[in-house]
């Protein structure tokens, strides 16, 4: 199966927030829970002030640390590279938040589960572009269903086989991206250590689990 890819082109982004809102509407994320976010970096002094933008979401790592660390089996890497999150299994424990080198996952207070970019599997599995790509008015987000961006484009994360890659107008650190691209360092041993450390929280986990399940049921 070919691996999916989204390329962000910093030359074209105008910080219009369309991708962010489009993502939220498509993925049932309430206001305040941004699964995609646009940031900017300003360089230079007047009259050469220069502001450039980046629109980031889950990077859909080739070897995702969040998948390694999830105790509930809610996260998995699909054959097409999409890191899928099954909200009905999520217990909101936050291990993925600790393990993600990009600080992507967040907990939605209203939904009691972790939320992150879904890669709009509900659209791409029906042959459509992800919502952020479809709604971008300038073409700064492009979806490559066959996973190959055009030759000659240098992009952050391309060599590391991330599934969300970035042609930046500046250095990665200017956009708060870790450089070099971090790799998965979560080992089984570490996960057990975290679990051990959090043993007293088992009851809380159970409670959260129950609450998450009943929440899903009321949404049915």
């Amino acid at each position: 199966m070919s691996e999916r890819l989204i390329l962000f082109d910093g030359k074209k982004c105008i910080r219009c927030h369309s991708c962010e809102v489009g993502c939220q509407l498509e993925n049932d994320a309430p206001p305040g829970v941004l699964l995609r976010g646009v940031r900017s970096h300003i360089k230079g002094r007047f009259p050469d002030g220069d502001e450039r933008f980046i629109s980031t979401a889950c990077f859909h790592c080739d070897d995702p640390a969040c998948v390694s660390s999830c105790p509930a089996g809610a996260l998995s890497r699909r054959a097409d590279g999409v890191v899928e999150h099954r909200r009905e299994r999520c217990i909101g424990c936050g291990y993925c938040i600790q393990s993600c080198p990009f600080h992507v996952p967040q907990v939605s207070p209203a939904q009691h589960t972790m939320r992150k970019c879904s890669f709009c599997v509900q659209r791409i599995d029906y042959g459509k572009e992800p919502a952020c790509v479809a709604k971008c008015p300038t073409g700064s987000l492009t979806y490559y269903p066959a996973g190959k961006i055009p030759e000659g484009i240098t992009a952050y994360g391309k060599a590391e086989r991330l599934h969300m890659v970035y042609a930046l107008q500046g250095k990665p650190e200017e956009f708060r991206l870790p450089d070099p691209v971090p790799l998965n360092t979560v080992t089984g041993q570490q996960v057990w250590k975290w679990l051990g450390g959090l043993a007293p929280g088992v009851f809380i986990l159970a409670w959260l689990w129950k609450r998450a399940v009943s929440e899903e049921e009321t949404h049915e």
Partner: protein, 689 residues
């Protein structure tokens, strides 16, 4: 529980309906996703040539707004301090009877006693219905939003070239050599058009951006010229003088196609590069380099931003733009022309007006006369179909409205306007009605009703048709749907003849008028082929005695003017749009838009506040001669020192804190030129709050 959530897998929606956005003139056509008769999402229509299926966040906010728990769903009548719910039929009765009573009570003097504050209509049919209803009944006071928007550029273009709309269409930026974005922040006002600018640059088009602020549009331009706000007219006159003195203009063209070139040369004479440099704060070389670039360019398009219209010297500035393009023979033909930020309001509606809108009625006198009429307690009924806060010195307008016997509000939320009303008849949102809309590329698009109107909300076209039939019993045309009103327009306007409903309903791009015959593809590009302008003698008219010479004056209240008060307010006030808010009205009720908002704030260069001891994030008072508002200070290297910029969206009444603030127009002095109001360029100051 299914494995995936979201709206787009086939089982998540019942249908997709072709529609369009009701906000700006890009007029994005959309596919509205409906589940159980509720709108769950909206996507741009990928078949639209102008937008390629993109959208901005404003259009998406409508999904939330249409389903908002804050929406007004039933007519409400004020009884003392409480609102009483009544039926639409009762509400209509009250309005119709009140209007008929005014005619009875003042048989010889009723015309100026009923007025309408018109919105940017959600469909052309609603606009036509409202005009017919009121004008046929003898009430000409329809205050259009243009008065306070781009009235100056529309008026100047109409006088100079014959039509108020852009002289060419967006596709021509691909055929030009130089594109000047004069105050036109395309990225934050017409986001989908950035693609066209990028495509033009890929073809080698040079983009020059004139703006005192660096904005996202700066990244899509080759050079930026940061002149002092309100001095654009002086800069253009400087260019004109240079072209004339250096003999860099098209003599032959001017002789054949331009009236008033001698007067122009005389009025441009004082604007030497040095004089212009002093006024604009640009170097003399910037002025002469720009003139040389424009002289060398074989084809130039000037795209004027709305801000050019919002200074008291605006009418002359826009005439100067026309003159500049005339001197270089850039008004007709491929890759040439002037564009503005305006809907391509259909030309050629004279026949319709003659037949149905009582054309012989004295022309509408506009907002200022209505305000005077309210002060004099002469206006008895005000149909408040838009925001009163769009006018400068908004508190003064509010006071005027409080003198009106009966105020009918057509709105969506319990906002500032609703608080002034005696009767509220809530309107429908864009997904809940059908109709045609026109856009900036002169295109007409059709939208279909996607979901039923909730509660007893009614469409504008329906309200004004119902009202029109009640107050014009014998004469109002027997129309009962937007389709029938559209047909009325099409049959009575020669430029729309070919725009059949059947064609429009299928076309995601829309068809651009003139479209004079069935099967005609519509017309893109220049509106004036072969330099045949639509003026009386078919020439570019630069000599209009009523408007005086084309010259530059300091904006009213400018800190660099002569008045003594001006010195007390040493900074230049400017305001503008942010990409996530539509004007200052109902996107404020969207929590999704609130995510990116923060109420009143000011953007200034650190050098501007150096001596004031202010730092990033401080609360400050932004003060004008009218009053002050509290705002958050943002220091930025992206703005010209000496200038204050503030966003225009905040207002009271919304429950969403980030969208809340004081309406900026409450501290904007009510200065007007011959055509429209001033919103920029007067003096202000900042103090620590």
């Amino acid at each position: 529980m299914g494995q995936v959530q979201g709206a787009s897998s086939p089982n998540r929606i019942d249908r997709e309906v072709m529609s369009c956005c009701q906000f700006c003139q890009v007029r994005c056509t959309t596919l509205v996703q409906v589940k159980d008769d509720k709108v769950v999402n909206v996507y741009g229509n990928p078949g639209n040539t102008w937008t390629k299926g993109g959208m901005c966040p404003k259009g998406q906010s409508l999904v939330e707004l249409a389903n908002s728990p804050h929406r007004l769903l039933y007519p409400l009548k004020r009884e003392g301090d409480v609102w009483k719910r009544i039926s639409y039929a009762e509400a209509l009765d009250i309005v119709a009877n009140r209007i008929l009573k005014v005619k009875e009570e003042f048989p010889d003097d009723y015309a100026r006693r009923v007025a309408l504050f018109a919105p940017l209509w959600e469909s052309h049919e609603s606009e036509i219905a409202a005009q017919m209803a009121l004008r046929m009944a003898g009430f000409p006071e329809i205050c259009s939003s243009g008065d306070t928007c781009i009235g100056n550029s529309a008026t100047a273009l109409r006088i100079c070239l014959g039509s108020a709309v852009s002289s060419t269409t967006l596709n021509e930026v691909l055929n030009t050599q130089t594109l000047v974005l004069w105050g036109a922040n395309i990225a934050e006002t017409y986001p989908p058009y950035i693609r066209w600018i990028d495509s033009a640059r890929e073809k080698g088009v040079k983009v020059i951006y004139v703006d005192p602020r660096r904005t996202p549009t700066s990244n899509h331009s080759d050079t930026q010229i940061m002149a002092r706000p309100g001095t654009d007219g002086a800069l253009i006159l400087g260019l004109i003088r240079f072209l004339i003195h250096e003999n860099l203009y098209d003599r032959d063209y001017v002789a054949r196609h331009v009236n008033g070139s001698k007067e122009l040369a005389a009025s441009a004479e004082p604007y030497t590069p040095e004089a212009v440099s002093k006024i604009t704060w640009l170097s003399p070389e910037t002025v002469t380099d720009l003139a040389k670039t424009l002289a060398r360019s074989k084809r130039t398009v000037v795209w004027m931003g709305g801000s050019l219209s919002r200074f008291t010297n605006a009418i002359q500035t826009v005439r100067a733009v026309v003159a500049l393009q005339a001197l270089t023979a850039n008004l007709s033909g491929p890759g040439k022309g002037i564009m503005n930020m305006q809907g391509g309001k259909p030309g050629g509606l004279e026949m319709l007006e003659e037949k149905y809108s009582a054309k012989d009625l004295a022309a509408a006198l506009g907002y200022r006369k209505v305000l005077y009429g309210m002060d004099q307690k002469r206006v008895k009924i005000l149909l408040l179909n838009s925001s009163y806060r769009r006018y400068p010195d908004a508190n003064r307008v509010k006071k005027g409205i409080s003198n009106v016997d009966f105020v009918v509000y057509r709105g969506f939320f319990m906002d500032e306007e609703a608080q002034l009303a005696h009767l509220i008849i809530p309107g429908t949102m864009v997904f809940e009605s059908s109709g045609s809309q026109y856009g900036a590329q002169r295109q007409v698009v059709w939208r279909n009703k996607a979901v039923p109107a909730p509660g007893e909300t009614v469409e504008d076209w329906r309200f004004y048709t119902d009202l029109g039939k009640r107050i014009n019993k014998e004469t109002f045309p027997p129309v009962n749907s937007p389709e029938e009103i559209f047909e009325l327009v099409r049959r009575n306007s020669p430029t729309w003849t070919g725009l059949t409903l059947e064609r429009l309903k299928k076309d995601p791009t829309g068809i651009s008028w003139p479209c004079p015959a069935d099967g005609h593809p519509g017309t893109l590009g220049t509106l004036y082929p072969d330099n045949r302008f639509l003026t009386a003698d078919r020439k570019v008219e630069l000599n209009t005695p009523a408007l005086g010479p084309i010259e530059w004056t300091e904006p009213e209240g400018s800190p660099y003017g002569d008045s003594a008060e001006a010195k007390a307010f040493p900074l230049i006030f400017t305001q503008g749009k942010v990409v996530q808010h539509w004007q200052h009205t109902y996107t404020r009720w969207s929590a999704y838009m609130a995510q990116f908002s923060e109420g009143n704030y000011v953007q200034v260069n650190p050098r501007t506040v150096q001596s004031l001891g202010l730092k990033e994030g401080d609360w400050v008072y932004l003060e004008t001669e009218l009053g002050k508002i509290k705002a958050r200070l943002h220091l930025s290297e992206m703005i010209l020192p000496g200038v204050v910029w503030t966003p225009s969206y905040p207002g009271g009444s919304t429950p969403l804190k980030a969208n809340t603030g004081v309406s900026i127009n409450t501290i904007i002095p009510g200065n007007w030129d011959k055509v429209s109001a001033q919103y920029n360029g007067f003096g202000c100051r900042l103090t620590k709050a």
